[in-house]
Amino acid sequence: MWSELVGANHSLLHYSGHSPLHRAPSHWKIVATVAFVIAVVATPTGIFWPYAGYLAVLAAATFIARIPPAYLARRLVVEVPVVVFAAWLPFISTGERVTLLGLSVSREGLLAAGALLAKATLGVLAALLLAATTDIRDLLAGLTRLRLPGPLVEIMGFMARYVEVILGDLARMRISLVARGFNPRSPRHWPVVAQSLGALFVRSYERGERVHVAMLSRGYASSFGPGSSPR
């Protein structure tokens, strides 16, 4: 449907607040989140008790950050494709067959699907908590302190700076098409939608060129420029 042309999930997840978790240095939050997720992923298949502990850690962190659990739960929709893949696993896995609800499924596949679903959910929740408590500027500063290559941070910074502008361009194109009675419902309408994407690319690229010229006039020296080899 045209009203859904641009998905609703483009708003940034940051949930502003002043909790100890919001104020914690961002590089430590990134390291802690990654360490937590590594521990989750390292849990052997077939053992399920550690997941209760992981969930307790996340619940405690959510409580300290004073973020409503519903705020995080709503974003779990990002997981729908994982659920589909997990539901499909027991049927195509090899190994011993067992009967569940009248269906013949692989025992190992069933266990694997359960573990996979638990791990993916915990990973998403941990990442959501990081995104909710960390402002994008803090996140970029944290990534710099963690020695992410400067040029990558710089590109991410431009993306953070211009994402609302470009999405605004896209929204204006959508409104002008709707105002002219456009209501795409089938692949017949793809050429028009693709044309707006083409126009969006040209606008974005030209904006990039203008931004570059404006930066040069203010004395910008790129981390890509001569004498600074990107590593």
Binding site: I155, G157, L170, F201, E209
Partner: protein
Amino acid sequence: MHVPDGFLNLGTSAATGVVATAAVALALRGARRELDDRTAPLAGLVATFVFAAQMVNFPIAAGTSGHLLGGALAAVLVGPYTATLCITVVLLVQALLFADGGLTALGTNVTLMAVVGVWVGYAVFRAAVRLLPRRSGMIPVAAGVGGLASVPASAGVFALLFSIGGAAPISLSTLLAAMVGVHTVIGVGEAVITGLVVASVLALRPDLVRGAAGLHVARPLEIRTEARV
């Protein structure tokens, strides 16, 4: 489409992380050749474009819709090195700010989409340009063929990785057939959208389509001293 945490074991994730890091290091060098000191703002804005383009729904039927992945499209428009950087940054932002794609799977996602997706798409695009008649009208077709190849190629590599370090015992042939089968259908949509977008950019600003460079012969300014009727 993004691989979440827990799909692949830590060893496989670390290995793809090494591949991704090496590829991004090479892309940082290559992008400087494609864009020189304009790299940061232009790659940033193109990454933002890819991010926005992935949110645009293309209606299929009965309320379902699909969206662009954009690896092959970015490679044709701005060159493969810059495209690798752009898709990597999009994946970083999606993982860190939108919880889309696992943090431990970041290397895997970069390998699948920013390396395999972009470079297979670009290689097939180049081959198609060589085989098709040398006309600028053929560029969108070649870009579409690149888009068609890039999606099942990524899915095939994912199936291989899952058979090495996946969470469940599945025979490689079953998974490969299913993943490549489903993603070939998705690839057809990707092909059509990629071709249409490239065609529209060619109509607006043909000089911005890097994959078509050389097909547009610059016409020297002709000074006419007397008016011809």
